[in-house]
Assembly symmetry: C2
Homo-oligomer: 256 residues x 2
Amino acid sequence: MEQKNPIQVAGRIFDVMELLAESGSIGLMDLSGELGLNKTTAYRVLSSLIYMGYARQDEATGKYEPTLKIVDMANKIMSKVDVVQIVRPHLRKLMEATGETVHFVERDGTDAVYIDKVESFTNGIQMVSRIGSRIPLYCSGVGKAMVAQMDEWEAEEIWNSSEIVSLTPYTVTDYSEFKKELELVRQRGYALDNEENEIGVRCIACSLKDVMGKVKYAFSISAPVSRMDNDRIHELTGYVLEAGREMEEQLAGGAG
Amino acid sequence: MEQKNPIQVAGRIFDVMELLAESGSIGLMDLSGELGLNKTTAYRVLSSLIYMGYARQDEATGKYEPTLKIVDMANKIMSKVDVVQIVRPHLRKLMEATGETVHFVERDGTDAVYIDKVESFTNGIQMVSRIGSRIPLYCSGVGKAMVAQMDEWEAEEIWNSSEIVSLTPYTVTDYSEFKKELELVRQRGYALDNEENEIGVRCIACSLKDVMGKVKYAFSISAPVSRMDNDRIHELTGYVLEAGREMEEQLAGGAG
DNA sequence: AAAATTGGTTTCACAATATGAAACATAGAA
DNA sequence: TTCTATGTTTCATATTGTGAAACCAATTTT
C-alpha cells in the first residue's frame, strides 16, 4: 500500500473540485455517486467550497459549479513562472513566422508539462493541449528532443519508468528503435513527431537547457498533417532552430 | 459573526495554496507565521498537498512551491465557459484591428470578473489584469457599460452595495454624478474609463446581453493615456460598437 | 389528487481524525 | 564547539468530520 493522505478530507475536497472542473455543472447525487462519497459528506464539502468562494450553486437547477477563483489562483502561479516571461516573445515570433501553434514544455519526471502556448490565428483546427496538462516523454516530439540530449543511462531510466503504450499505430514501443531515433535527433538538432502521440498531428520540437546546463525545457510547432508534408517540415526547421538558439542564449544569460 | 466554514481544514488548505501561489516559493516557518497556523498543522497541510500533487518541496532549499496541477484544473474550468469560445474570435479581430489589448468580463454581483483577454503584440506596457480576477462595477469602463443598461433600481442597489473608494483622483464617488455618466453611456452606446480605476489607463467599453436578454457581459479596449487621446478614442469607437453588434448577435443566436 | 420518487438539506450521536505541545534531527552561523 | 533556525516526528487529547436517518420540497407517477 502506498501511504495515505495525511488529511483525509483534503483528498475529498480536491476530488470534488476536480469533478466540478471536469463536468462544468453537476448535481449533489451524481457527484456523491461518482466519487463514492456519502451524500452528507459531499454536501458538506460543497458547502465549504461555496463558503470559500470556489464553487457556487445554480439558483434554478440546484446544481453545483466551479467559480473562477481557482482560475485566478492558477494565473497567479503562472505569473511567477519566470521562464515563461522570457520565452514568450520568442514563441510569439515563431508563431508569427510560421503561422502555426507553438507549445512550450518543462520536464517533470517521465512527463513533459505544458507551461505555455501561443495559438495560431488562422488555424481552424485547435490542438487540445492545456497549460498544466502532461504528455509522456517517450512518445512526444518535445519529449524525444529532451531525452536525446541526456546521458544514455538517464534515457534508459526514463524508458523503463514509462508505461509504454501504443497511442497510435506510429508510436515507437521498442527501445532499440527509440535509441536509433534519438541518434537522429542529435544529428539534426530537432525532433519529429509523426503522429506518434495523436493521429493527424505532426510536430517539430527542440530542447533547451536551463541555467545549470541541464535539459529541462522544450518547444514545438505542431500542425495537422495536411499542412505538414516533408517540404514544409524542411522549411520550418530553420525557424525552429533559430528560435532555439535565441532562447537558449537568453535563458543562460538571464541568471548567470 | 458571519457563520464559519463547515470544514475547518478546508479553509487552511486553501489558505496555504493561495499563499503558495502568491509567493511562488515559501518556507514552512514563514508560511505558518503568515497564516497564524501551528507549525505542525502547516506541515501536515503541506504534506497533504504534496501527496495529492498540488505542491512540491524544493530539494535544495527545503522551501515549498505550487505545482501546475491547479493550472490544469483552471484550464479545464475555462474550457467549459462556452461564451469564451464564442467571443474569442471577435476579440482577436478587435485586437488586430486596433492593436490594443482587449478584455472580456462577466458580471458577478457588484464586480466584474475577467474571463478572457487578448493581448496586443506590440504593446510594451502590459496591463496587469488576470483571468479570474475582479474589478468593481462602479469604477470601471466595463462596469459602467453594464450598469448603464440596467433598471434604475438595480443600478442604485449596486451603488449602495459597493464600497466606494477613490482609487484615483478621477474616480467618481458621487451617485448623482454616476447617474449622469450612465445617461451619457446610454446615448453613446459605449462607456469610457478615464483613469478612474488605474492612473495612466483609459478604456472604451461596451456591454452585452446574455441569451435571456439580461446584461451579463462586457468587453473593453484599454491602453495607456499616451495612446488614447480623444481623437484616437473617436477612431476606436467604431470598431468597438461593430464588435459589440457582432458578438451580441451570435450570443443570441447560439442558444435561442 | 394522492402516492411515490427524486434531489437537496438538517440533525445528531459517535469515533475517527485533525490538532498542537513537545521532543527530535539537521544544517548553517557564531 | 555551541547556538540558532528550519524542517520532521511523536503522541495524548478532544475537536472535528462522519454518515445513518429523518426531513422538506419539487416532480413524476398512479
